[in-house]
Symmetry: none
Subunit: 198 residues, 4 copies
């Protein structure tokens, strides 16, 4: 669909705000960022902010949605390029990808907090066309899980739990180093996931 020049400009302004918001939230923490500071950084008038977002938290949610589905999406993309393997292998690959990414992006992880979630991903698939290619992945993994006897519903529930667990473990062990640093937690987590999926 073609956007008129005006619509393109609006979309671009929205992006600018998302980017400015992300930078500031990551640098200073959500509570210490004001709408003023965001628009100042974005080089946009304060009032304009409210044409695009309801308030700071509306922007924050958009950012979290965007960033966390982006990470998952990268991981999935990478996994698709792999030679065929078992569900378990593919899943572990994705977890590993996300963990390694988060180790390098602690600030983003702090922002996403424990909001990394399969639910977010599903929502992204449904609302944002740019993730449309990933619908396919979801279908593939469902097929695989069905082969080992999961109904589609149950497949979604199990995947959901695994991703939530991934998020929790990343946050605790990477940010808080609790109960152990991530490199010690990874094998434990992997072993658990293998047990779940095999």
């Amino acid at each position: 669909m073609l956007l008129s020049r005006l619509e393109a400009k609006k979309e671009q302004k929205r992006e600018t705000l998302l980017r400015a918001g992300y930078d500031l939230f990551v640098a200073n923490g959500v509570n210490d960022v004001s709408v003023s500071s965001i628009t100042r950084r974005a080089g946009i008038a304060k009032g304009t902010f409210y044409l695009y977002f309801e308030d700071k938290y509306d922007l924050l949610n958009s950012i979290i949605l965007h960033k966390s589905s982006e990470v998952l999406s990268m991981a999935i993309d990478a996994s698709v390029k792999l030679p065929k393997g078992t569900v378990s292998e593919r899943t572990l690959f994705i977890l590993d990808y996300v963990i390694e990414f988060m180790k390098d992006n602690k600030d983003m992880l702090k922002l996403i907090d424990k909001n990394l979630s399969w639910g977010v991903f599903v929502e992204a698939i449904e609302t944002d066309d740019s993730f449309s290619n990933l619908k396919k992945f979801r279908e593939i993994i469902f097929e695989d899980l069905e082969k080992i006897g999961y109904s589609q519903k149950k497949a979604e529930q199990v995947i959901f739990i695994i991703i939530e667990t991934l998020g929790s473990v990343c946050y605790s062990s990477i940010i808080l180093e609790q109960p152990s640093p991530i490199d010690e937690m990874k094998p434990v987590l992997f072993e658990i996931v293998k047990k779940i999926l095999d």
Copy 2:
């Protein structure tokens, strides 16, 4: 340890603030609660607040620590009264207890959010004498896990992951009903935990 009358009075004032804070946080959300409103509700002068807590978030942390370890502690207490069973059985009993409790206390769950964590519990054990009786539980479950071949460290890591997962699932499915209502998620979660522990 006996407290002097003065110390008792101070402790009581602290409790009043914790209770007032909890009620307000639960009712209005953390961001919409001010120190003023807390002291107003507690019937205490505004300045007095700062004699007991650094700021709103200091109070909030105390509350979350207190409430979430309370829930876990109740669950564990109840499990101890059971006839002996496998680790897996005992663990599932605890998860079930927490889930049922949270179903009846959604407001508290919203506040604890995803901060239900084994880490919190460990911290509570170490700082608060009133949980001293629960140290024992920790030791018991470690013993049990060691019998099935876990080192103490790994035992702690696995328990940690299970409790984090419990917290995440409770929050998503009870509050957001995602990906399914809690009663549909419970069997799936239980099956997973059984696989992990058996």
Copy 3:
């Protein structure tokens, strides 16, 4: 005078704005209505507003002028259909008409506040052709008052005072129920007016 199609369209847009403004002023109070909300309701672009009115208060004045002279005009129209009577009778009829109307239109009364005024009416006669038929009434009542010895100027002054008093009493007793509800005030007001005119 015939309007070109363009002029008719403009007049219609003006009417739309007047109506939207009236609805909103009445519903939310003048201070809580913005030009934005008015144009939104009118289904007209924000910038367009300024092609028709200087600002919110310009619109408000037009509305008050319009509405309050409309009420007076209806009352006078009705009085003209009466069989001939004394000035006093005719005047009381008009007051009664206005009072009964205001009882049924409290919201409008709140907006007009105490701006019901003979002066507004005179202004309307002079600026708005649609009230031209009412010029006649003014002349009739002047004639009547001249018969009982009032100069034209004094006639206008007395009528002015009576209408102002009517407005004040309506507002106080209908909206505030002060000092008494309107149905108790009406006979007192009528007695006073009779004394003035007889």
Copy 4:
């Protein structure tokens, strides 16, 4: 009742705000005065304003109440010093006093607008002890009116109407010079009031 030093200071601060608000409202009009400007003028911190008044309009109401009952009160005080006369004479004296005062204080009149009202006066009597001496006047005038056959209730209603009319006429003729300047309106108004009361 003695006020503690603190309470005296608070009362004094309230007065300062009333005075600053009055000056600014009178000079710039209500809509063009901000809470900021009021506190700046009062030499008081912005937040302090909100310890004394809910908002700008709360302050405005206090001011109107205060000023308009002050004027009436001065007029009544002056009338009490007169040699005895008829109700009618005494009332005309009061009207005259108020009119002359308003001629010299157009700015205050603009602020009071049409809110000069017997109702305000009654409220002032009931809430503010400093007007307690004026209760007496109310009783005297009631007695006088009862002598000429008015029930107390009706007396209050008639007085109410007269004062409202006084306010309306003052505003229209002094501020707007409508329908005639005040000096031409005064005799007409007086004649009307005489008719009402005799």
